[in-house]
Symmetry: C2
Subunit: 286 residues, 2 copies
């Protein structure tokens, strides 16, 4: 596979960054992951808007000219270069504050940010969606700016690993007794017929799929309330599901070993997934 690094396309094995890159030394960078179907990007505009927000929040100045159109073109180029014009693919983009002698404060303004992007084939988790995922609850140990999509991801890594080690698929994070989101997903619950999810505050990432699902729920007449779910209310949920760029809508049928609702994927998740799939770029082949 060929990847993009600071203006050049190189083989992935040759894509190297200096040890002085602030991504490596401080996790000082932001990223996005965008879905592509048959060479068409899905919701790219929302991803690039969120990227701009993350750059702004971390005070990283992106390279001049790296606007939404340039990002679209870069993603498209990576898809084409790597034979991903057909089928499902993911585009990864990361921008760090660049390489410079190590100081906690920002490097000189002349420091060139590092831009890395790659594209790879992707298999949507249809089998898991059919049988339903499992989750554990886990303390949300993250910082107070979870609304920025940065590569300071160690708490997410540890939570996800703890889920995997427990034989589960995701960690549902709990802060001050409230469900915030998953380690790499947003979390929705159906409680008393109402769809509930944590409001878009500093404690969750404003997921692109989350936003789309809220819009679709409105269109489908499913009542939605952006109000945190206390962890003990999870027992009353008839459905629980995760949303993310790679999961779309993923029903959760077990939490901490206990079944959610009937213990089967539920109808609200099913309808929302169907509506989401319909919005995806048209496929030339299935």
């Amino acid at each position: 596979m060929r990847v993009f690094l600071n203006g050049e396309l190189v083989e992935r094995e040759q894509a190297l960054v200096p040890v002085d890159d602030r991504g490596f030394l401080f996790g000082d960078g932001v990223y996005e992951v965008v879905r592509a179907v048959d060479g068409s990007l899905y919701e790219a505009e929302r991803h690039w808007r969120r990227l701009a927000r993350s750059l702004d929040g971390t005070e990283i100045t992106p390279p001049a000219g790296l606007d939404a159109a340039a990002l679209d073109a870069l993603a498209q180029q990576l898809l084409d270069e790597n034979g991903l014009a057909a089928g499902d693919a993911l585009v990864y983009l990361q921008i760090t504050r660049g390489a410079a002698p190590r100081t906690h404060h920002f490097p000189p303004a002349t420091t060139r940010p590092t831009v890395f992007a790659s594209a790879g084939p992707f298999s949507p988790p249809h089998a898991l969606r059919a049988r339903g995922a499992s989750a554990i609850t886990h303390p949300d140990l993250r910082w107070a700016r979870c609304d920025l999509k940065t590569v300071n991801l160690l708490p997410n890594v540890l939570a996800k690993q703890h889920a995997v080690a427990a034989g589960a698929d995701e960690a549902v994070l709990v802060r001050d007794g409230m469900v915030t989101e998953g380690s790499s997903t947003n979390v929705f619950a159906v409680i008393a017929g109402e769809l509930r999810t944590h409001p878009a505050s500093n404690h969750i990432l404003p997921g692109v799929t989350r936003d789309v699902v809220i819009e679709l729920a409105g269109q489908l007449g499913v009542p939605v309330r952006e109000l945190p779910v206390p962890v003990e209310e999870l027992r009353e949920a008839t459905e629980l599901f995760l949303t993310s760029t790679t999961n779309d809508v993923m029903p959760v049928v077990r939490v901490d070993g206990r079944p959610v609702g009937s213990g089967e994927p539920g109808p609200v998740a099913g309808r929302l997934y169907a509506a989401l799939a319909e919005r995806m770029p048209a496929r030339t082949a299935v």
Copy 2:
């Protein structure tokens, strides 16, 4: 300068890591900075003990054989290789979970951790110590495991930058109304004749210099209490100072533009710095 990367000594410019290194993608690593004087490491044993604790807390398995003796030898080799056998120097060591295809959960157990180490000359900030540093107060936005010395340092980077942008030297972090520590230092205050500092909880890094200073205060008969300082009590402090491997004991004479105590470096900080300097490895020349 020659640095160490995964078993080899290479020129710093040639020290490159794959974009797939989890340090770059997730900030998934830990580090230490150790002081050397005339080729002798200072408090290395405590640093390597803390490193082991950070590795354990992040569940990173270090390479076999990388024990305290091997780390001492590596640091010594870097000092020798780079002409740092005389004078002040810093040794930097970072270990990440290694390079592997990107997944939030841990990579396969066979993944080799990345080990990077470097040494460079260091100028102790004597002039700043003589006139006293300035600080701003800043919200502590960090995660709930500040006791681990990881490279998830973005909140520290932003806080330090905000201090520098305000013309100050350090950001004194405040969580729930209490001073925790600085963005790259521990914080001590003298209030009513007593030395106060945040207890070694999950909200601060257990600084090596912090520990030494607490011991020295005991020896000097200065009463010490590990009890958080409410931010409003900073106004009552007759002295405030920072401790770290690079700052030793650094008096703070202004906070948010207001003088601390007399507005001059104070006697408690002075005595503690003198006692600390006495413990440093003997110099062959000054």
